[in-house]
Protein backbone atom coordinates (compact mmCIF):
# COMPACT_ATOMS: atom_id res chain seq x y z
CA UNK A 1 0.00 0.00 0.00
CA UNK A 2 1.04 3.59 -0.60
CA UNK A 3 1.14 6.43 1.96
CA UNK A 4 -1.79 6.56 4.37
CA UNK A 5 -4.70 8.84 3.41
CA UNK A 6 -4.91 10.35 6.90
CA UNK A 7 -2.08 10.74 9.34
CA UNK A 8 -2.55 12.29 12.75
CA UNK A 9 0.76 13.13 14.29
CA UNK A 10 1.00 13.44 18.08
CA UNK A 11 -2.25 15.40 18.26
CA UNK A 12 -2.85 17.17 21.55
CA UNK A 13 -5.71 19.43 22.52
CA UNK A 14 -6.00 21.04 25.90
CA UNK A 15 -9.01 22.87 27.36
CA UNK A 16 -7.50 24.87 30.15
CA UNK A 17 -5.73 22.38 32.39
CA UNK A 18 -7.56 19.41 30.92
CA UNK A 19 -6.01 17.53 28.01
CA UNK A 20 -8.91 16.13 26.01
CA UNK A 21 -6.48 14.58 23.60
CA UNK A 22 -2.88 13.81 24.45
CA UNK A 23 -0.35 12.89 21.78
CA UNK A 24 -2.60 10.79 19.59
CA UNK A 25 -1.00 9.42 16.46
CA UNK A 26 -3.13 7.58 13.97
CA UNK A 27 -2.78 6.45 10.38
CA UNK A 28 -5.67 5.46 8.16
CA UNK A 29 -5.13 3.89 4.78
CA UNK A 30 -7.22 4.79 1.78
CA UNK A 31 -10.32 2.53 1.45
CA UNK A 32 -9.96 1.49 5.05
CA UNK A 33 -12.85 1.39 7.51
CA UNK A 34 -11.59 2.30 10.92
CA UNK A 35 -13.63 2.29 14.08
CA UNK A 36 -12.74 4.53 17.01
CA UNK A 37 -14.03 3.24 20.29
CA UNK A 38 -13.56 4.25 23.88
CA UNK A 39 -15.56 5.29 26.92
CA UNK A 40 -17.27 8.65 27.18
CA UNK A 41 -14.81 11.51 27.50
CA UNK A 42 -12.03 9.54 25.83
CA UNK A 43 -11.56 12.35 23.29
CA UNK A 44 -13.18 10.74 20.26
CA UNK A 45 -15.24 13.72 19.12
CA UNK A 46 -12.35 16.06 19.89
CA UNK A 47 -10.27 13.98 17.49
CA UNK A 48 -12.87 14.54 14.76
CA UNK A 49 -13.00 18.27 15.52
CA UNK A 50 -9.22 18.47 15.17
CA UNK A 51 -9.23 16.62 11.87
CA UNK A 52 -11.96 18.82 10.36
CA UNK A 53 -10.39 22.04 11.61
CA UNK A 54 -13.30 22.94 13.87
CA UNK A 55 -10.72 22.90 16.66
CA UNK A 56 -7.05 23.74 16.30
CA UNK A 57 -4.56 21.37 17.93
CA UNK A 58 -2.55 22.56 20.92
CA UNK A 59 0.28 20.46 19.55
CA UNK A 60 0.82 18.03 16.70
CA UNK A 61 -0.74 18.16 13.25
CA UNK A 62 -2.91 16.35 10.76
CA UNK A 63 -1.91 15.33 7.24
CA UNK A 64 -4.41 14.40 4.60
CA UNK A 65 -3.38 12.84 1.30
CA UNK A 66 0.18 13.82 2.03
CA UNK A 67 -0.41 17.49 2.89
CA UNK A 68 -0.77 19.19 6.24
CA UNK A 69 -4.31 20.39 6.83
CA UNK A 70 -3.98 21.59 10.42
CA UNK A 71 -4.45 25.36 10.53
CA UNK A 72 -6.74 25.44 7.51
CA UNK A 73 -10.22 26.83 8.17
CA UNK A 74 -12.86 24.08 8.40
CA UNK A 75 -14.45 24.89 5.06
CA UNK A 76 -11.10 24.52 3.33
CA UNK A 77 -10.56 21.14 5.01
CA UNK A 78 -13.98 20.09 3.78
CA UNK A 79 -13.07 21.18 0.27
CA UNK A 80 -10.08 18.83 0.38
CA UNK A 81 -12.53 15.95 0.61
CA UNK A 82 -13.21 15.38 4.30
CA UNK A 83 -16.81 15.19 5.40
CA UNK A 84 -18.35 14.37 8.75
CA UNK A 85 -21.61 13.49 10.34
CA UNK A 86 -22.51 14.60 13.84
CA UNK A 87 -23.47 12.70 16.94
CA UNK A 88 -26.56 14.85 17.31
CA UNK A 89 -28.34 15.43 14.04
CA UNK A 90 -27.12 18.69 12.64
CA UNK A 91 -29.19 19.13 9.49
CA UNK A 92 -30.95 22.21 8.10
CA UNK A 93 -34.19 21.84 9.99
CA UNK A 94 -36.22 24.35 8.01
CA UNK A 95 -35.24 23.03 4.60
CA UNK A 96 -36.55 19.89 2.92
CA UNK A 97 -34.51 16.72 3.00
CA UNK A 98 -33.83 17.16 -0.70
CA UNK A 99 -32.65 20.72 -0.20
CA UNK A 100 -30.37 19.50 2.59
CA UNK A 101 -28.75 17.04 0.27
CA UNK A 102 -28.46 19.51 -2.56
CA UNK A 103 -26.78 22.11 -0.35
CA UNK A 104 -24.28 19.47 0.63
CA UNK A 105 -23.76 18.34 -2.96
CA UNK A 106 -23.37 21.90 -4.22
CA UNK A 107 -20.66 22.95 -1.76
CA UNK A 108 -17.90 24.57 -3.77
CA UNK A 109 -19.98 24.86 -6.91
CA UNK A 110 -19.05 27.98 -8.83
CA UNK A 111 -22.63 28.97 -9.55
CA UNK A 112 -23.21 29.59 -5.84
CA UNK A 113 -21.89 33.10 -6.41
CA UNK A 114 -24.05 33.86 -9.40
CA UNK A 115 -26.45 36.11 -7.57
CA UNK A 116 -28.89 36.54 -10.41
CA UNK A 117 -28.84 32.98 -11.74
CA UNK A 118 -32.19 31.41 -12.50
CA UNK A 119 -33.74 29.52 -9.62
CA UNK A 120 -32.75 25.86 -9.81
CA UNK A 121 -35.45 23.23 -10.31
CA UNK A 122 -36.76 21.41 -7.22
CA UNK A 123 -34.08 19.48 -5.38
CA UNK A 124 -35.92 16.19 -5.82
CA UNK A 125 -35.29 16.34 -9.57
CA UNK A 126 -31.53 16.56 -9.23
CA UNK A 127 -29.74 13.34 -10.18
CA UNK A 128 -27.00 13.81 -7.58
CA UNK A 129 -29.56 14.33 -4.84
CA UNK A 130 -31.61 11.33 -5.90
CA UNK A 131 -28.55 9.12 -5.96
CA UNK A 132 -27.52 10.02 -2.41
CA UNK A 133 -31.10 9.87 -1.19
CA UNK A 134 -31.40 6.39 -2.58
CA UNK A 135 -28.12 5.37 -0.96
CA UNK A 136 -29.37 6.45 2.49
CA UNK A 137 -32.91 5.22 1.98
CA UNK A 138 -34.66 8.59 1.80
CA UNK A 139 -35.70 8.42 -1.84
CA UNK A 140 -39.37 8.90 -1.03
CA UNK A 141 -38.94 11.57 1.66
CA UNK A 142 -37.18 14.33 -0.27
CA UNK A 143 -39.94 16.91 0.03
CA UNK A 144 -40.33 16.64 3.80
CA UNK A 145 -38.81 19.34 6.03
CA UNK A 146 -35.78 17.92 7.79
CA UNK A 147 -37.15 18.92 11.17
CA UNK A 148 -40.27 16.81 10.53
CA UNK A 149 -38.50 13.54 9.72
CA UNK A 150 -38.52 10.71 12.24
CA UNK A 151 -35.44 10.27 14.38
CA UNK A 152 -34.16 7.35 12.35
CA UNK A 153 -34.71 9.23 9.12
CA UNK A 154 -32.91 12.24 10.51
CA UNK A 155 -29.90 10.02 11.22
CA UNK A 156 -30.09 8.74 7.66
CA UNK A 157 -30.24 12.32 6.41
CA UNK A 158 -27.25 13.16 8.58
CA UNK A 159 -25.32 10.43 6.80
CA UNK A 160 -26.67 11.55 3.45
CA UNK A 161 -25.53 15.13 3.98
CA UNK A 162 -22.06 13.94 4.86
CA UNK A 163 -22.03 11.65 1.85
CA UNK A 164 -23.41 14.14 -0.65
CA UNK A 165 -20.24 16.19 -0.68
CA UNK A 166 -18.59 13.17 -2.31
CA UNK A 167 -15.83 12.92 0.30
CA UNK A 168 -12.66 10.87 0.14
CA UNK A 169 -12.71 10.58 3.91
CA UNK A 170 -15.94 10.25 5.85
CA UNK A 171 -15.99 10.82 9.60
CA UNK A 172 -19.07 9.28 11.20
CA UNK A 173 -19.78 10.26 14.80
CA UNK A 174 -22.03 7.59 16.34
CA UNK A 175 -24.25 7.09 13.29
CA UNK A 176 -26.68 4.89 15.26
CA UNK A 177 -26.96 7.07 18.38
CA UNK A 178 -30.43 6.86 19.87
CA UNK A 179 -31.77 4.42 17.27
CA UNK A 180 -34.11 1.51 17.85
CA UNK A 181 -32.70 -1.98 17.07
CA UNK A 182 -34.59 -2.06 13.79
CA UNK A 183 -33.31 1.36 12.78
CA UNK A 184 -29.80 0.33 13.76
CA UNK A 185 -30.01 -2.76 11.56
CA UNK A 186 -31.05 -0.57 8.67
CA UNK A 187 -28.19 1.85 9.28
CA UNK A 188 -25.66 -0.98 9.42
CA UNK A 189 -26.87 -2.18 6.03
CA UNK A 190 -26.59 1.32 4.59
CA UNK A 191 -23.05 1.73 5.91
CA UNK A 192 -21.98 -1.66 4.70
CA UNK A 193 -23.19 -0.77 1.23
CA UNK A 194 -21.11 2.40 1.00
CA UNK A 195 -18.63 2.32 -1.86
CA UNK A 196 -15.14 1.30 -0.87
CA UNK A 197 -13.67 4.50 -2.41
CA UNK A 198 -14.96 6.34 0.61
CA UNK A 199 -12.55 5.86 3.47
CA UNK A 200 -14.40 5.82 6.77
CA UNK A 201 -13.58 6.71 10.33
CA UNK A 202 -16.43 5.67 12.62
CA UNK A 203 -16.97 6.54 16.26
CA UNK A 204 -19.34 3.95 17.61
CA UNK A 205 -20.50 2.39 20.83
CA UNK A 206 -22.41 -0.45 19.26
CA UNK A 207 -19.88 -3.28 19.33
CA UNK A 208 -21.78 -5.49 16.92
CA UNK A 209 -21.67 -2.71 14.39
CA UNK A 210 -17.99 -2.14 15.00
CA UNK A 211 -17.11 -5.76 14.50
CA UNK A 212 -19.32 -6.05 11.43
CA UNK A 213 -18.01 -3.01 9.63
CA UNK A 214 -14.52 -2.13 10.72
CA UNK A 215 -11.30 -3.33 9.14
CA UNK A 216 -9.34 -2.07 12.10
CA UNK A 217 -10.19 -0.64 15.50
CA UNK A 218 -8.48 2.07 17.57
CA UNK A 219 -9.28 2.37 21.27
CA UNK A 220 -9.03 5.79 22.89
CA UNK A 221 -8.80 6.17 26.62
CA UNK A 222 -8.13 9.37 28.58
CA UNK A 223 -7.12 11.12 25.38
CA UNK A 224 -4.55 8.53 24.38
CA UNK A 225 -4.51 5.53 22.05
CA UNK A 226 -4.78 2.51 24.27
CA UNK A 227 -4.77 -0.17 21.62
CA UNK A 228 -5.04 -0.56 17.89
CA UNK A 229 -5.44 -3.53 15.63
CA UNK A 230 -7.79 -5.95 13.93
CA UNK A 231 -11.21 -6.22 15.56
CA UNK A 232 -10.60 -9.69 16.81
CA UNK A 233 -7.27 -8.72 18.37
CA UNK A 234 -8.76 -5.71 20.08
CA UNK A 235 -11.64 -7.73 21.32
CA UNK A 236 -9.19 -10.06 22.93
CA UNK A 237 -7.04 -7.37 24.50
CA UNK A 238 -7.47 -7.52 28.28
CA UNK A 239 -6.72 -3.80 28.74
CA UNK A 240 -9.56 -2.94 26.45
CA UNK A 241 -11.83 -5.19 28.39
CA UNK A 242 -10.84 -3.54 31.58
CA UNK A 243 -11.42 0.11 30.56
CA UNK A 244 -14.22 -0.31 28.18
CA UNK A 245 -15.97 -3.52 27.43
CA UNK A 246 -15.89 -4.74 30.97
CA UNK A 247 -17.06 -1.63 32.72
CA UNK A 248 -19.29 -0.39 29.92
CA UNK A 249 -22.37 -2.38 29.24
CA UNK A 250 -23.25 0.38 26.84
CA UNK A 251 -23.54 -1.84 23.80
Amino acid sequence: MSDPLLRCHALTRRFGALAALNGVSLEVEARERRAIIGPNGAGKTTLFDLITGELTPSAGHVEFAGRTISGLPPHAVARRGISRSYQRTNAFRHLTAGENLRLAAAAGARENFRLLAAPPPPASTSAAVREVAHAVGLGARLDILAGRLSHGEQRQLELGIALATRPRLLLLDEPTAGMSPAETQRMVRLLAALPREVTCLIIEHDMDLVFTLADRVSVLHHGEVLAEGLPAAVRGDPRVHEVYLGSGGEA
Binding site: E54, A91, H94, L103, N112, R114, L116
Partner: protein
Protein backbone atom coordinates in the same frame (compact mmCIF):
# COMPACT_ATOMS: atom_id res chain seq x y z
CA UNK B 1 -47.89 30.52 -6.44
CA UNK B 2 -49.50 31.84 -9.57
CA UNK B 3 -52.30 33.45 -7.60
CA UNK B 4 -49.72 35.15 -5.38
CA UNK B 5 -48.02 36.57 -8.43
CA UNK B 6 -51.35 37.76 -9.79
CA UNK B 7 -52.13 39.38 -6.47
CA UNK B 8 -48.77 41.16 -6.47
CA UNK B 9 -49.34 42.37 -10.02
CA UNK B 10 -52.77 43.70 -9.17
CA UNK B 11 -51.28 45.43 -6.14
CA UNK B 12 -48.61 47.07 -8.26
CA UNK B 13 -51.15 48.35 -10.75
CA UNK B 14 -53.25 49.74 -7.93
CA UNK B 15 -50.23 51.49 -6.38
CA UNK B 16 -49.22 52.86 -9.77
CA UNK B 17 -52.69 54.32 -10.23
CA UNK B 18 -52.74 56.04 -6.83
CA UNK B 19 -51.86 59.57 -8.00
CA UNK B 20 -54.96 59.55 -10.18
CA UNK B 21 -57.19 58.12 -7.47
CA UNK B 22 -56.37 59.81 -4.19
CA UNK B 23 -55.06 63.08 -2.83
CA UNK B 24 -51.46 64.09 -2.86
CA UNK B 25 -50.76 63.27 0.78
CA UNK B 26 -51.74 59.59 0.62
CA UNK B 27 -49.66 59.38 -2.54
CA UNK B 28 -46.66 60.73 -0.68
CA UNK B 29 -47.25 58.30 2.15
CA UNK B 30 -47.32 55.52 -0.44
CA UNK B 31 -44.04 56.78 -1.89
CA UNK B 32 -42.45 56.83 1.52
CA UNK B 33 -43.69 53.31 2.16
CA UNK B 34 -42.17 52.18 -1.14
CA UNK B 35 -38.83 53.78 -0.24
CA UNK B 36 -38.77 52.31 3.24
CA UNK B 37 -40.01 49.05 1.76
CA UNK B 38 -36.88 48.92 -0.40
CA UNK B 39 -34.76 49.69 2.66
CA UNK B 40 -36.50 47.07 4.79
CA UNK B 41 -36.22 44.44 2.04
CA UNK B 42 -32.51 45.10 1.77
CA UNK B 43 -32.17 44.61 5.53
CA UNK B 44 -34.23 41.44 5.34
CA UNK B 45 -31.73 39.97 2.90
CA UNK B 46 -29.24 40.11 5.78
CA UNK B 47 -31.63 39.39 8.61
CA UNK B 48 -34.21 36.98 7.27
CA UNK B 49 -32.18 35.19 4.64
CA UNK B 50 -28.61 35.20 5.95
CA UNK B 51 -29.33 35.39 9.69
CA UNK B 52 -27.32 38.59 10.23
CA UNK B 53 -29.09 40.95 12.61
CA UNK B 54 -27.52 44.28 11.72
CA UNK B 55 -28.15 47.41 13.74
CA UNK B 56 -25.95 49.36 11.37
CA UNK B 57 -27.89 49.20 8.13
CA UNK B 58 -28.77 52.89 8.47
CA UNK B 59 -25.14 53.70 7.63
CA UNK B 60 -25.73 52.71 4.02
CA UNK B 61 -29.16 54.29 3.81
CA UNK B 62 -27.76 57.59 5.05
CA UNK B 63 -24.60 57.30 2.97
CA UNK B 64 -26.65 56.80 -0.18
CA UNK B 65 -28.71 59.82 0.79
CA UNK B 66 -25.70 62.03 1.40
CA UNK B 67 -23.90 60.98 -1.76
CA UNK B 68 -27.02 61.58 -3.82
CA UNK B 69 -27.56 64.96 -2.14
CA UNK B 70 -24.00 66.07 -2.81
CA UNK B 71 -23.96 64.81 -6.39
CA UNK B 72 -27.41 66.11 -7.31
CA UNK B 73 -26.73 69.50 -5.75
CA UNK B 74 -23.16 70.05 -6.77
CA UNK B 75 -22.44 67.95 -9.77
CA UNK B 76 -25.26 67.02 -12.10
CA UNK B 77 -28.93 66.27 -11.69
CA UNK B 78 -28.61 63.01 -13.58
CA UNK B 79 -29.40 59.37 -13.00
CA UNK B 80 -25.69 58.81 -12.39
CA UNK B 81 -25.95 61.07 -9.36
CA UNK B 82 -29.25 59.66 -8.25
CA UNK B 83 -28.51 55.97 -8.68
CA UNK B 84 -25.02 54.97 -9.73
CA UNK B 85 -22.93 57.01 -7.31
CA UNK B 86 -25.03 56.34 -4.18
CA UNK B 87 -25.18 52.63 -4.97
CA UNK B 88 -21.44 52.48 -5.62
CA UNK B 89 -20.61 54.37 -2.43
CA UNK B 90 -22.90 52.20 -0.35
CA UNK B 91 -21.46 49.06 -1.93
CA UNK B 92 -17.91 50.18 -1.19
CA UNK B 93 -18.79 51.07 2.40
CA UNK B 94 -20.67 47.78 2.71
CA UNK B 95 -17.60 45.90 1.57
CA UNK B 96 -15.39 47.51 4.22
CA UNK B 97 -17.89 47.47 7.10
CA UNK B 98 -19.04 43.98 6.15
CA UNK B 99 -15.52 42.61 5.87
CA UNK B 100 -14.69 43.83 9.36
CA UNK B 101 -18.04 42.98 11.00
CA UNK B 102 -18.47 39.49 9.60
CA UNK B 103 -15.33 38.39 11.41
CA UNK B 104 -17.46 38.31 14.54
CA UNK B 105 -20.90 36.86 14.99
CA UNK B 106 -24.03 36.97 17.10
CA UNK B 107 -24.21 39.79 19.59
CA UNK B 108 -20.78 41.05 18.66
CA UNK B 109 -21.89 41.42 15.07
CA UNK B 110 -24.88 43.46 16.19
CA UNK B 111 -22.67 45.71 18.25
CA UNK B 112 -19.96 46.15 15.66
CA UNK B 113 -22.41 47.11 12.93
CA UNK B 114 -24.06 49.50 15.36
CA UNK B 115 -20.69 51.05 16.17
CA UNK B 116 -19.89 51.55 12.51
CA UNK B 117 -23.17 53.26 11.79
CA UNK B 118 -22.64 55.53 14.79
CA UNK B 119 -19.26 56.45 13.38
CA UNK B 120 -20.91 57.44 10.12
CA UNK B 121 -23.42 59.45 12.13
CA UNK B 122 -20.70 61.19 14.11
CA UNK B 123 -18.83 61.96 10.92
CA UNK B 124 -21.85 63.56 9.26
CA UNK B 125 -22.80 65.37 12.45
CA UNK B 126 -19.36 66.89 12.74
CA UNK B 127 -18.80 67.76 9.09
CA UNK B 128 -19.52 71.39 8.34
CA UNK B 129 -19.47 70.66 4.59
CA UNK B 130 -22.28 68.13 5.12
CA UNK B 131 -24.38 70.70 6.90
CA UNK B 132 -23.48 69.22 10.32
CA UNK B 133 -26.54 68.72 12.53
CA UNK B 134 -28.92 70.41 10.09
CA UNK B 135 -28.06 68.20 7.14
CA UNK B 136 -28.18 69.08 3.46
CA UNK B 137 -31.28 70.86 2.18
CA UNK B 138 -32.30 71.72 -1.36
CA UNK B 139 -31.60 68.37 -2.99
CA UNK B 140 -32.99 68.59 -6.55
CA UNK B 141 -34.56 65.64 -8.30
CA UNK B 142 -32.69 64.33 -11.31
CA UNK B 143 -33.65 65.28 -14.86
CA UNK B 144 -34.48 62.33 -17.04
CA UNK B 145 -35.13 62.66 -20.73
CA UNK B 146 -38.35 64.62 -20.99
CA UNK B 147 -39.63 63.64 -17.56
CA UNK B 148 -40.51 66.24 -14.98
CA UNK B 149 -39.85 64.47 -11.70
CA UNK B 150 -41.13 67.43 -9.74
CA UNK B 151 -44.60 66.38 -10.81
CA UNK B 152 -46.05 64.09 -8.19
CA UNK B 153 -47.37 61.42 -10.54
CA UNK B 154 -44.13 61.23 -12.54
CA UNK B 155 -42.07 60.97 -9.37
CA UNK B 156 -44.48 58.35 -8.09
CA UNK B 157 -43.89 56.15 -11.09
CA UNK B 158 -40.15 56.80 -10.86
CA UNK B 159 -40.10 55.55 -7.24
CA UNK B 160 -42.33 52.64 -8.16
CA UNK B 161 -39.95 51.69 -10.96
CA UNK B 162 -37.08 51.56 -8.48
CA UNK B 163 -39.21 49.56 -6.10
CA UNK B 164 -40.11 47.00 -8.75
CA UNK B 165 -36.49 46.82 -9.82
CA UNK B 166 -35.34 46.16 -6.26
CA UNK B 167 -38.11 43.66 -5.69
CA UNK B 168 -37.42 41.72 -8.87
CA UNK B 169 -33.67 41.76 -8.30
CA UNK B 170 -34.01 40.60 -4.70
CA UNK B 171 -36.57 37.95 -5.62
CA UNK B 172 -34.11 36.66 -8.18
CA UNK B 173 -31.24 36.72 -5.68
CA UNK B 174 -33.07 34.86 -2.93
CA UNK B 175 -34.21 32.13 -5.31
CA UNK B 176 -30.83 31.72 -6.98
CA UNK B 177 -28.38 29.08 -5.80
CA UNK B 178 -26.74 31.93 -3.88
CA UNK B 179 -29.98 32.61 -2.05
CA UNK B 180 -30.23 28.95 -1.16
CA UNK B 181 -26.76 29.05 0.31
CA UNK B 182 -27.85 32.03 2.44
CA UNK B 183 -30.87 30.07 3.63
CA UNK B 184 -28.54 27.29 4.63
CA UNK B 185 -26.32 29.73 6.52
CA UNK B 186 -29.34 31.16 8.30
CA UNK B 187 -30.51 27.68 9.22
CA UNK B 188 -27.24 26.14 10.34
CA UNK B 189 -24.09 28.13 9.78
CA UNK B 190 -21.75 25.64 11.42
CA UNK B 191 -22.87 22.82 9.20
CA UNK B 192 -22.42 24.96 6.11
CA UNK B 193 -18.82 25.50 7.11
CA UNK B 194 -18.36 21.78 7.71
CA UNK B 195 -19.74 21.09 4.26
CA UNK B 196 -17.06 23.27 2.73
CA UNK B 197 -18.85 26.57 2.22
CA UNK B 198 -16.69 29.65 2.70
CA UNK B 199 -19.53 31.11 4.71
CA UNK B 200 -17.91 34.47 5.38
CA UNK B 201 -17.62 35.14 1.69
CA UNK B 202 -21.30 34.45 1.15
CA UNK B 203 -22.25 36.61 4.08
CA UNK B 204 -20.06 39.40 2.80
CA UNK B 205 -21.63 39.18 -0.63
CA UNK B 206 -25.09 39.39 0.93
CA UNK B 207 -23.98 42.26 3.13
CA UNK B 208 -22.72 44.21 0.12
CA UNK B 209 -25.87 43.55 -1.89
CA UNK B 210 -28.00 44.67 1.06
CA UNK B 211 -25.87 47.77 1.57
CA UNK B 212 -26.09 48.68 -2.11
CA UNK B 213 -29.86 48.47 -2.20
CA UNK B 214 -30.07 50.40 1.09
CA UNK B 215 -27.93 53.09 -0.53
CA UNK B 216 -30.39 53.35 -3.40
CA UNK B 217 -33.26 53.62 -0.91
CA UNK B 218 -31.38 56.37 0.91
CA UNK B 219 -30.86 58.23 -2.35
CA UNK B 220 -34.59 58.02 -3.10
CA UNK B 221 -35.35 59.29 0.41
CA UNK B 222 -33.09 62.29 -0.18
CA UNK B 223 -34.77 63.00 -3.52
CA UNK B 224 -38.20 62.50 -2.02
CA UNK B 225 -37.59 64.90 0.87
CA UNK B 226 -35.22 67.18 -1.01
CA UNK B 227 -33.21 66.82 2.14
CA UNK B 228 -30.96 64.51 4.09
CA UNK B 229 -29.84 64.77 7.71
CA UNK B 230 -27.66 62.82 10.15
CA UNK B 231 -30.77 61.19 11.65
CA UNK B 232 -30.87 58.97 8.57
CA UNK B 233 -27.59 57.45 9.77
CA UNK B 234 -28.55 57.03 13.42
CA UNK B 235 -28.85 53.49 14.76
CA UNK B 236 -32.52 53.87 15.60
CA UNK B 237 -33.16 54.23 11.86
CA UNK B 238 -31.84 50.68 11.57
CA UNK B 239 -34.03 49.81 14.53
CA UNK B 240 -37.12 51.09 12.75
CA UNK B 241 -36.28 49.05 9.69
CA UNK B 242 -35.83 46.02 11.94
CA UNK B 243 -39.27 46.66 13.36
CA UNK B 244 -40.69 46.80 9.86
CA UNK B 245 -39.06 43.54 8.88
CA UNK B 246 -40.20 41.76 12.03
CA UNK B 247 -43.73 43.09 11.96
CA UNK B 248 -44.12 42.22 8.31
CA UNK B 249 -42.36 38.88 8.37
CA UNK B 250 -38.64 38.18 8.10
CA UNK B 251 -37.37 35.86 5.43
CA UNK B 252 -39.88 37.00 2.84
CA UNK B 253 -39.88 39.95 0.46
CA UNK B 254 -43.50 40.97 0.81
CA UNK B 255 -43.12 40.99 4.60
CA UNK B 256 -40.79 43.97 4.95
CA UNK B 257 -42.93 46.00 2.55
CA UNK B 258 -46.04 45.12 4.52
CA UNK B 259 -44.15 46.02 7.70
CA UNK B 260 -43.09 49.37 6.24
CA UNK B 261 -46.69 50.11 5.38
CA UNK B 262 -47.86 49.15 8.86
CA UNK B 263 -45.13 51.11 10.61
CA UNK B 264 -45.46 54.30 8.59
CA UNK B 265 -49.22 53.99 8.63
CA UNK B 266 -49.25 53.70 12.41
CA UNK B 267 -46.72 56.46 12.86
CA UNK B 268 -48.60 58.83 10.56
CA UNK B 269 -52.18 58.07 11.47
CA UNK B 270 -52.10 56.90 15.06
CA UNK B 271 -49.92 59.79 16.16
CA UNK B 272 -52.64 62.21 15.08
CA UNK B 273 -54.98 60.65 17.60
CA UNK B 274 -52.80 59.82 20.55
CA UNK B 275 -49.51 60.92 22.01
CA UNK B 276 -49.01 57.39 23.20
CA UNK B 277 -48.62 55.87 19.80
CA UNK B 278 -45.11 54.66 20.62
CA UNK B 279 -46.58 52.62 23.47
CA UNK B 280 -49.06 51.04 21.10
CA UNK B 281 -46.38 50.41 18.52
CA UNK B 282 -44.02 48.91 21.09
CA UNK B 283 -46.72 46.70 22.54
CA UNK B 284 -47.83 45.56 19.10
CA UNK B 285 -44.26 44.77 18.21
CA UNK B 286 -43.74 42.76 21.39
CA UNK B 287 -46.94 40.89 20.58
CA UNK B 288 -45.60 40.00 17.16
CA UNK B 289 -42.30 38.78 18.54
CA UNK B 290 -44.07 36.63 21.12
CA UNK B 291 -47.02 35.24 19.27
CA UNK B 292 -46.53 35.81 15.57
CA UNK B 293 -42.83 35.53 14.83
CA UNK B 294 -43.61 35.11 11.14
CA UNK B 295 -45.11 38.58 11.11
CA UNK B 296 -48.17 39.92 9.36
CA UNK B 297 -47.49 37.77 6.35
CA UNK B 298 -47.33 34.67 8.51
CA UNK B 299 -50.61 35.63 10.15
CA UNK B 300 -52.22 36.06 6.76
CA UNK B 301 -50.92 32.69 5.65
CA UNK B 302 -52.12 31.04 8.83
CA UNK B 303 -55.51 32.60 8.23
CA UNK B 304 -55.56 31.45 4.62
CA UNK B 305 -54.35 27.98 5.61
CA UNK B 306 -57.29 27.68 8.00
Amino acid sequence: MRSARRLALAGLVAVAALPWLVGSYPVKLAQEILIWGIFAMSLDLLMGYAGMLSFGHSAFFGLGGYVAALALRGWSPSLVSALVLPAAAAAAAGLVVGFLSIRVSGVYFIMLTLAFSQMFYAAAFNAEWLGASDGLPGVPRPRLIGLDLDRTEVFHLYILAFFVLALVALARVVRSPFGRVLRGVEDNERRMVALGYAVRRFKLAAFVVGATIAGVAGSLEAQFNGYISPEALFWTTSGEALLMVSIGGAGTLAGPVLGAAAFIGLQSLLSSYTEHWTLILGAAFIGFVLWAPEGLLGLARREAGG
